[in-house]
Symmetry: C4
Subunit: 128 residues, 4 copies
């Protein structure tokens, strides 16, 4: 398939409800409770995405840098971020993503604290 799709999306995306449940039921890593950002770069240029985390009672954390190649999907568990710092579990936060080319972002949480997992998901808010 020739990728002739036009560039689509926005360059700033917001997810107010970030939270990594502190417990899990079931085999890791598949069923580990997690927050994920799912990114599509449908365009012809690679994307540099910078993620910032905002908290209730301390300064924002970031940028976390992610490279999403042209014509590629990229699903990133927030639990797995390491640089500049691990994200604490059981703590409220919000996410802001900036990209140098248009992308589309969705946020999904898997919560397996109890015996059968719950899911929630929403397209993020495209700020500009």
């Amino acid at each position: 398939m020739t990728t002739t799709l036009p560039t689509i999306g926005s360059t700033t995306w917001v997810v107010p409800d970030g939270y990594i449940p502190a417990h899990s039921t079931g085999p890791a890593p598949e069923m580990t409770s997690h927050d994920s950002v799912c990114i599509l770069n449908a365009g012809a240029s690679d994307a540099l995405v910078e993620l910032y985390l905002f908290f209730t009672d301390r300064d924002p954390l970031g940028p976390y840098r992610m490279h999403v190649a042209a014509g590629r999907a990229y699903h990133q568990r927030i639990n797995d971020l390491r640089d500049p710092a691990v994200v604490p579990v059981g703590v409220d936060y919000s996410l802001v993503l900036h990209s140098d080319v248009p992308i589309v972002v969705q946020h999904t949480r898997l919560d397996s604290r109890q015996a059968a997992n719950a899911l929630m998901s929403t397209i993020a808010y495209p700020a500009r």
Copy 2:
């Protein structure tokens, strides 16, 4: 990190589906059934947010006032609101939030009435 992010979001947000399940399974407060509004104020000015609740068969309730500092996330369980009145459980309602500076709002429900909790979430509707 220097907070150089521009102000992002809208000043009026709507969530039509408010409902606090009346029962819970699991340890309180973590697994208590609840509705939450999750707010990000990514800008450089503090936000005064006024929340109004609309009901099926009586006049709206509010404002509930929340202060969200510049560059901070703020997750508020509707169950925990006290002034001007506690919000009844097991009752249908809708939420409208007004802010004096742009914010972004997401609504999330945790329902633990049965043995394993359910989640639902959506970015609120940005009305203006």
Copy 3:
């Protein structure tokens, strides 16, 4: 409280994923599997809302008429609609709502086919 909130929302809303699960676990009606449309009429004029259902292999059904008073929330289970016809369970459909004044619409499903209920929800798509 004096309701001085401006009129907010749109007049046409779409929900592509309608489906009423055919089975339920737990006490009726609270835990009965259902689709709901949750409507907020935050304005000063009463709303007449006309709901149409679209199906895979037959003509649309409607209008279902709902009156939402000024300054009121209105949560309607699709299962409970009777006029012009009961909505079949276990069947794919889509929903379109038209209102004579601006409203905001959210769609939520409770699925209790298995032992612990699942939830999903999204702000509907504001078409105009």
Copy 4:
């Protein structure tokens, strides 16, 4: 009912979070874990919809072609797509849909890997 509804929606829709859980609990096909795209063509002209799948580490797949008749709903499980190729389970992907007439698209996942199913859903992102 005479279908006098105007054409509504957009012609390009994006869902960044695609993922078909690899296991299921409960009777097939009803409770089989799946991703679905739910499409409404409320207009008077039939729609030709072309679906493309984007992956983390290989070229996009598509188009998958779907015909949605005028005034019809169409719910398609991604699991059931066969041409040009079956979609792998347990693999991250993103979805882009193009239509020759305006449609509205919602994405829903049913995850029954554990004993009680989870659901998540969101209106897709309307790119143009």
